[in-house]
Amino acid sequence: MYRKDGVDYFIVDGHIHFWDASEENTANKYGEGFIRCFYDYQRNLSPQEWVWPLEKFRKYSEQDLMHDLFETGYVDWGIFQPTYLNEFYRSGFNTTERNGQLARKFPDRLIANGSFDPREGEAGLERLRKLHAEWNLRGVKLYTAEWRGSSKGWKLSDPETQDYLALCQELGIRNIHVHKGPTIWPLNRDAFDVADIDHAASAFPGLNFVVEHSGLPRLDDFCWIATQEPNVYAGLSVVMPFIHSRPRYFGQIIGELLYWLDEDRIVFGSDYAIWSPKWLIEKFVDFQIPEDLQSEYGVLTTDAKRKILGLNHARLYDLKVPGSAQLPAAAAVAA
């Protein structure tokens, strides 16, 4: 919980990791390049005092995570989004298993999401069932750009994917987080194109589709889809740290999201350990759309900030919100 000027903010960090990119676990030059790329993300967009030494960044401890999120970072709930990268790291980078062990230890603080790859066919469906049985999944994180054999990526609109989404619906895995952000893999197939979200969101109205990184740099395509599909959400991971070094752009992105979507469908994520929630939350609560942009975008209200920082995620993940952090109307209903 974060409190400022007498207002309580319930905080759900919807995008966190517990990775291992230690030298022992790094399998090849790709793994080395990947963690250095992440490290440059941290160095590029963090206040100086929040830049870690590379050694710590490669592999941080359980204590680091618990301290940065819950002791000093105001977070009430953290949601792990796995990134397997088994071809780059010997025992994977940030797997459901590694995250899940921590989540099991702190069941009232941490949620471990799973993942699936529709190219695994029947075996993959079985694997998803098992993963769900073991970790009681409430969400999955999908990387449509991952390579697999001769395939250079997949789409949520592929026929095989429909069986997986149907299984998610059946099992109650309601939250489908999809990485749609700065392009890396694959080669020429435009796997971060957001058009497939449109298809899946229409076909599965009972599922929520959280588009991580808000589709940047395809913000316009994403917003256009989100206006038409009520079950599409904008995830703010990677967007959040702009608040420090590029506040004007941050204001514009938030302004666009508020315009095309609304304050009920924008959700906070730090992308920890790339960035730490403490400073992001403090700056966000103090943030306002620059004055000269307010005629176009309006203002960011306290209620909108409360929703974005936690209440929206709480709704998606059925998390209990203390009365002091609820919006006035909701608090009245609850009372």
Binding site: R43, N44, R189, D220, R246
Partner: protein
């Protein structure tokens, strides 16, 4: 002309040629973005340009397009001999440098890993965004000067001074759309005029596209500076020992 001044002129010509190469995703010349780390010109007219990108994992498809475009622009210099473009510090440097140098297609350079014939389509996706964003920037200026949506919808390129439509015309030329004086000022992706009733929405989409491109550019520029030190410097050298 002395050999030295000729060499300097040639280096300038090389940089001018490279300024025609856009980062397809960011809609800006690679020279402005700091992606050209050095250029050199040999006495025999050989040219080498070295490129670098914000991350080790920048999309290889976009990287390829930049390296290929750079080589093509250099080859247009009338005096140029062998032209080499080297992409540094990238996970696919080897494949891209050898592929472009050997005049292969992208799918030939990555056998089994890339689908043929998708590159132009990908390039077009982002050129369209750049085209749309440029229309919004222009539309905003005109509205501020008192134009109405009706007037915007009726306007053709020839109604404005050329300097205001430079970007629009360049993007249209690359997209194969009409860019003559009688072409509509505001068009959809196929070059059809946007009716007055649809103009507000059209300009809004362009605003959002522009924010997306701009934010991504800020991100990439910051990453480049993080990786290589403050951006903007370019090491320019002529191989004097060979030029003498």
């Amino acid at each position: 002309m002395t050999a030295v001044t000729e060499a300097v002129d040639r280096v300038t010509a090389v940089n001018t040629a490279l300024a025609a190469v856009l980062d397809p995703e960011l809609d800006r010349p690679i020279t402005e973005l700091g992606f050209v780390s050095s250029v050199s010109v040999g006495a025999d007219g050989s040219v080498e340009a070295r490129l670098r990108l914000p991350t080790y994992f920048c999309a290889p498809n976009f990287a390829w397009l930049m390296v290929e475009d750079a080589r093509r622009e250099l080859a247009r210099l009338s005096w140029a001999g062998e032209c080499t473009v080297v992409l540094e510090d990238h996970f696919a440097s080897e494949e891209i440098n050898q592929g472009v140098g050997g005049e292969k297609s992208f799918s030939e350079a990555f056998p089994g890993l890339a689908d043929p014939d998708r590159m132009q389509e990908l390039r077009a996706v982002f050129l369209r965004k750049g085209h749309l964003a440029a229309q919004t920037r222009l539309g905003k200026r005109l509205l501020e000067r008192g134009w109405t949506h009706r007037q915007l919808a009726d306007a053709v390129l020839g109604d404005l001074p050329e300097r205001l439509t430079v970007t629009l015309r360049r993007r249209r030329a690359l997209l194969g759309l009409r860019a003559d004086v009688s072409a509509p000022l505001f068009t959809d992706n196929e070059g059809r005029a946007v009716p007055a009733a649809g103009l507000e929405r059209h300009l809004l989409m362009g605003r959002t596209a522009g924010v997306g491109i701009g934010a991504n550019t800020e991100f990439c520029e910051g990453l480049l500076a993080t990786r290589y030190g403050p951006a903007g410097w370019t090491e320019v050298s002529s191989r004097r020992e060979e030029a003498s």
